[in-house]
């Protein structure tokens, strides 16, 4: 086993490899849910804010944080859920917005401002406000006719 030397910055770099299991182009940093990294008496405390109440990915993310750090020989890890202040899609980074659009998911904005991530036409039609995951709705482009996911503004 390796003996790791680390600080909050190097731990954040490691955690930058942890992605959302449902949207693997977004890291937890992009999502804005990685709130704090503290080192308290050699114990690493990672504070994460859950997105949706019903998001089943949170447990997976918690496990992925542990295993990413374990790969670096860091095993004394405490992952805490911080509920306040509540997460909002405003915390998704600009980089995150770009990655979402490139991945074919319309990034969060108001429903009337959504543009098709494929042809960039405006005024798509809403098909279902509850989509494939808690955070997404299903829309269809009124120009190119492609259905696509929209990351709901929250």
């Amino acid at each position: 086993m390796r003996t790791a030397t680390y600080d909050a910055t190097s731990i954040r770099e490691v955690l930058n490899r942890v992605v959302d299991p449902e949207i693997p182009v977004l890291t937890i940093e992009d999502l804005g849910i990685l709130r704090r990294v503290d080192i308290i008496d050699d114990r690493v405390r990672v504070s994460i804010t859950p997105t949706y109440s019903g998001c089943p990915a949170m447990r997976q993310i918690e496990d992925d944080v542990r295993s990413a750090l374990a790969d670096e020989g860091i095993n004394d890890v405490d992952v805490r859920m911080v509920h306040f202040p509540a997460w909002t899609t405003d915390w998704i980074t600009e980089d995150g917005h770009r990655k979402l659009a490139n991945f074919g998911i319309a990034p969060p904005t108001t429903e009337i401002e959504v543009v098709c991530p494929r042809c960039e036409a405006s005024s798509p039609n809403m098909i279902a406000r509850f989509g494939s995951t808690a955070c997404k709705a299903l829309m269809v482009c009124s120009s190119c006719g492609e259905p696509f996911d929209y990351f709901k503004e929250f």
Binding site: P50, Y52, G54, C55, P56, F84, R129
Partner: protein, 227 residues
Amino acid sequence: MLISHADDNMVAAQRLGELISNAPELEIDIAIGNTALDHLGVARALYTHATGVEGKGRGEDDLAMLRTERDYSNLLLVEQPNGDFAQTMVRQFLFDSYQGELWRELAESDDETVAGIAARALKENAYHWRFSSGWVIRLGDGTLESHHRTQAALDDLWQYTEELFENNHYRSAWERTVAAVVEEATLDLPNDPYQRTGGRSGFHTEHLGFLLAEMQWMQRSYPGLEW
């Protein structure tokens, strides 16, 4: 009171969960499944927080899976069976209208964890409410058959609404919200004075026991079982 709110969400999640793969169409199935997950997530967060505050070493599973009907203090409304689709939507609409007021108030709580959980739930509630109220309007203002069934559901569930206002001041806001939708749905507000209460102190209708029996069976049969 935190545990009562958690119980409302736990029971709502279990009831709605019964419809997964049984809803009238795919989009409705997914909407109901998502809503159930939201309620489950809120219940878990509140149970976890409540057990942390009480500091007796109990966890979320102890509260959800090892308490009996007499210990559950959810609203009678949320434990009512799904019935037909109109019954499910009217029940959810009356409940969603109540929870909107609840989360708005709790989002200002001095307890930061409660405030955070409520702020998130309030945004989710907007989606739940738009779905349930939308269906109440479509069904009420739909065919003769759907109108009759929705009115019947409203008349039947009305007896469980008095209880929504125990220990709070949500009545007037709730009544405004509900009356506007009922009018748009071309339905009539019931005026039957008969009201049943008792859920908050653990006196339930016969339906909760069956719901808990199904939900808790695994944990009761195999104590300490984990996935």
